[in-house]
């Protein structure tokens, strides 16, 4: 047993000594957390940025848009990630929140691929609303197979939910009595929809893949598909900005990082992650995002 302890110690100790050195020196840390939609972009950018600026450390966490905004407001984080706008309530509570937009994204209504392939390719806004209200409970009621609908909702502080509910009901805090499950991050929602064969949910378009298909929205007599083109030209109705929230104007290392995200290289990362760069000078070659697995 002593050997085991010794072995562990020998393994950890060299790392420890190097660590103690850096401990003494200290370094700048940028703490970022929030929306899981913005997370992939920022995570990748942080990796590249840190390799160029070794004295700046960036920690990134998930949590949801609500966590990001509140965190930025209370000073827990240097940058909060949000996939929705700041509400008037939040603005009142925190004096000087500043928003920097780094990209655009859309929230698609997604269904399990089995449902999509069984013929449900389009739903109207009202149908989706009824499904979430629990008034439509079987896929056959909307042209699909005879199977109960597994309605997947999201935690109420998630930016994706705010935007989706606002579109469906005009109220970002609407209740969804028809919901069967509640998920948190985009990853979890994607996984649960893929695992099921009769689910419906709300997901950032960058997360659609072969198991999770985005359906067209029937509105105003036309069907609008959830494609990046439709988001860019403004036709897709459920679109949102991808925001970085800071307490006041960004400065110092935080400003450096944000500038990096806004630079051409940073914006290319936005596109590679499956979203739309804010300036969008060049066409994006992928339709679905990098989370297609």
């Amino acid at each position: 047993m002593l050997l085991v302890l010794f072995g562990t110690g020998a393994w950890v100790l060299p790392g420890l000594s190097g660590w103690v050195q850096v401990f003494a020196q200290g370094s700048t840390v940028i703490r970022i957390a929030g929306s899981t939609t913005v997370l992939p972009i920022v995570s990748r950018a942080a990796e590249r940025f840190q390799s160029r600026h070794p004295s700046i450390k960036i920690t990134v966490n998930a949590g949801g848009s609500g966590v990001g905004i509140h965190g930025a407001g209370t000073g827990r984080f240097d940058i909060g990630l949000a996939s929705r706008e700041i509400t008037p309530n939040e603005n009142q509570r925190y004096a000087s929140l500043h928003t920097t937009v780094i990209g655009r994204d859309a929230v698609a209504c997604v269904v399990s691929s089995e449902i999509f392939h069984a013929g449900v390719r389009t739903l109207s806004k009202r149908q989706i609303g009824y499904i979430y209200l629990g008034k439509i409970t079987n896929w056959k009621q909307v042209g699909g197979p005879d199977r109960p609908i597994v309605v997947i909702d999201k935690e109420t502080h998630r930016g994706t939910r705010h935007v989706f509910m606002h579109y469906l009901f005009g109220n970002s805090k609407a209740r969804a009595p028809g919901a069967r499950l509640v998920t948190g991050s985009n990853n979890e929602e994607q996984a649960k929809i893929a695992q099921s064969d009769s689910a419906i949910g709300m997901l950032s378009i960058a997360w659609m893949n072969e198991d999770v298909a985005g359906i067209g929205i029937h509105e105003g007599g036309q069907v609008i598909q959830p494609t990046l083109d439709n988001v860019r030209n403004g036709r897709f109705p459920i679109a949102r900005n991808l925001n970085l929230i800071t307490a006041g104007q960004p400065a110092g290392a935080v400003k450096l990082f944000i500038d990096y995200l806004l630079s051409e290289e940073g914006q290319r990362l936005v596109a590679e992650s499956g979203y739309i760069p804010i300036h969008s000078p060049h066409a994006v070659s992928r339709v679905a995002g990098s989370h297609s697995k």
Partner: protein
């Protein structure tokens, strides 16, 4: 040592160990007090009806009933499902196995009791939910039942090993007397040993219940996460929410923020009271058995 009062000996050792002692013993008191103090805001906002409110929407309403129900439901399920297995293996080990085999089984149980909850969670979300859905023909496998099943497996080693202790500590003479009176071995077990060990067995079950009620991660990933009472209330194949699961999901969002934070702490307080009552009862029973 001739001492008239505890404070007669005032050397530094006394004070240092005393400090440690007070810290250790005082922790739970501080814990409870903090839970109570931090819960006040939500009770002010919702009144005592917080405990039976059925609607929870952060920023508007806070009602704890779905979570309380969920915790009780999954724990109840877990206990009902685990009991036959735990008792059977405890009886087998204590009454019918040789000394060495018994030690091996106990060692195995101790190892298994240490398996981290996240591993059960991983199994649950990647395998169990799909299995439950397919075997029971449900539309989705994230249900109270699934969580109960997972918990049952989690607490099996704990209940088994404590029950085994209770059974082994029944004096051998009782068994010998019963056998000499013509009872078969199984009859000895059911009519003599088990009744004698009942307080210890009950204690083991209570402690297992306490552990099941407090488990967060494994439950969080498979229970469905929806703050709703099942319709009808006994439909355990519906999704739901337990107290630790709710806290786990919302804590990061609410860290420190007035009413929502207070509501989560209040949930914690309810859980604390429930678990403490059960554990207290369990400990009393276990000590009666010794």
């Amino acid at each position: 040592m001739i001492q008239h009062s505890m404070f007669h000996e005032k050397g530094p050792v006394f004070w240092w160990t005393g400090l440690a002692g007070v810290m250790a013993a005082g922790t739970i008191v501080i814990l409870f007090a903090s839970l109570v103090i931090e819960s006040v805001p939500v009770f002010k906002a919702e009144g005592i009806s917080f405990l039976w409110g059925v609607d929870w929407f952060a920023g508007e309403n806070y009602g704890a009933l779905p979570m309380i129900f969920g915790s009780l439901a999954v724990t109840g399920l877990a206990v009902v499902m685990v009991l036959p297995f735990a008792l059977a293996s405890a009886i087998l080990t204590s009454e019918f196995l040789s000394g060495r085999a018994r030690l091996m089984v106990k060692a195995a149980m101790e190892l298994l009791a240490g398996v981290p909850g996240i591993i059960y969670g991983l199994m649950g979300i990647s395998l169990l939910t799909i299995w439950v859905r397919d075997v029971f023909g449900l539309i989705d496998g994230n249900t109270l039942f699934t969580a109960g099943l997972l918990l049952a497996v989690m607490i099996l080693p704990t209940i088994m090993t404590l029950s085994e202790d209770a059974l082994s500590s029944v004096p051998g003479e009782l068994r010998d007397t019963a056998l000499s009176l013509g009872l078969t071995r199984m009859e000895t077990v059911t009519k003599v040993v088990v009744p004698q060990a009942l307080p210890g067995l009950a204690g083991a079950v209570f402690l297992g219940i306490g552990r099941a009620m407090g488990e967060t991660i494994a439950v969080m990933l498979v229970i469905g996460g929806i703050d709703r009472l099942p319709q009808p209330w006994f439909n355990l194949f519906a999704p739901g929410q337990s107290i630790p699961s709710k806290i786990g999901r919302e804590a990061a969002e609410a860290l420190g923020f007035d009413v929502q934070w207070s509501a989560l702490i209040a949930l914690g307080l309810v859980l604390f009271v429930m678990v403490m009552t059960l554990t207290f009862a369990g400990n009393v029973l276990l000590r009666k058995a010794r």
